[in-house]
Symmetry: C2
Subunit: 216 residues, 2 copies
DNA sequence: TCGACACTATCTGCATGCAGTGTTGAACGC
DNA sequence: GCGTTCAACACTGCATGCAGATAGTGTCGA
């Protein structure tokens, strides 16, 4: 071992992939931005190979799009595709809510309750940035509790692309309403009724999708 | 233009990716098979670069798994993950059935009916290989009709990995029962009731999942 | 006979070379 | 002023070089 306590990856390509992914999701790299392999290689002071690897992975994940002999650019996600993403998200969130209910325990109850409590305060205070974090955290908690790696991975992919799309389409969606929906999901999960939990989660996402279609 | 009439890809890496993907899905490359980049490069008479690109894409798609400094091998899909795949597939097939119902037209009716008719004959005759094809075709027709690229892509990924998993776990599942389920889905879609279509599709996949859990 | 160790072969992962191609912009004609 | 031509540039995509790491093999000692 050299020095630090890092466990797994430390392949340059892996680090680059995660870095670029973060920059895309955070909006630092906006949709349409060219992903020039030589330029990125120079920026990160590495050769072109690991950069190319990272870009290929981003393309495969639909976070970037490539044209023949023109390389890749950060994906531009259309309104139509955003709706399609929400169609997927609706049923996937429903599924994880159902599974989480079947695996419900005190630890899950505590963490969801903590998130919900803070979220309510934050929403009333109008802290939008923190609202987004708590919103994401709430859903993340549920999908981790569902213990379905397949569904979790899909939701991750959907969520990433939704965030990218949001860079051009700000869907605020109402913080108070979000808290209200989350409360309903929490109660359904807590009641031990998988069916109710699924319906509550679906209704939550469905409402967001409708907002999306309405807003032009 | 050189000679042939092929339109888009013509990147070596793209062709390799599709070829390897097909071989994995078809079972020609069995789970656990090492994907040695130099060996594949020699087999296909190309350099290691496009092979590496293809392997990276397979890994990103979870059709291959890699270990640090040991490269990739064809994914081994556990029983637990197969169940997880079916949990995802259940809700995804439900979603596309719902959407297909909303977009139902005569063309869809014709193609589904044709598939269903042949499927019934084939099932009675006990032609298992053809049964698998028709089964897949039926679901493919519905998810194309749904016109949701996001859901379609997810289902493709799920289906690929299910096929890989099936190489070690033969789940026959009853051809006649499959036809019966498909008939119910067809009728629900045709009736124009999205809710019913979703439920029918989900019930179909759910039944397969139960079979999976039961069979050891 | 059996285990430890060193050695070899092979592969991964990063770096780099290079031909073909798309893009840009400037010179030129009109 | 405006459109066209063409040449320089930049980048993609494939090929290849190479250091480090890992697995497999054989040898030696007990």
């Amino acid at each position: 071992m050299t020095s630090s306590l890092q466990a797994d990856p430390q392949r340059v390509g892996e680090v680059l992939y995660k870095t670029l992914r973060d920059r895309i999701i955070s909006g630092e790299l906006r949709p349409g931005t060219r992903l020039s392999v030589p330029a990125l290689a120079e920026e990160f002071r590495v050769s072109r190979s690991p950069v190319r690897d990272a870009v290929i992975r981003l393309v495969q994940e639909n976070l970037a799009a490539e044209t023949m002999n023109r390389g890749a650019e950060v994906a531009r996600i259309s309104r139509a595709e955003l709706v399609s993403l929400y169609e997927a998200r609706e049923v996937l969130e429903g599924a994880v809510a159902r599974l989480a209910t079947e695996k419900y325990d005190a630890a899950l109850r505590r963490s969801l309750l903590a998130l919900l409590t803070e979220h309510r305060t934050v929403a009333e205070q109008g802290d939008f940035a923190r609202h987004l974090e708590l919103d994401a955290a709430f859903h993340r908690e549920i999908r981790q509790a569902a213990k379905s790696p397949v569904l979790a991975r899909m939701l991750d992919g959907v969520q990433s692309r939704v965030l990218v799309a949001m860079r051009s389409t700000s869907l605020t969606g109402g913080m108070v309403q979000a808290v209200h929906d989350h409360q309903a999901i929490f109660e359904a999960i807590g009641s031990g009724d998988p069916e109710a939990a699924e319906l509550a989660a679906r209704a939550h996402i469905h409402r967001l999708k409708e907002l999306l279609s309405a807003a032009d």
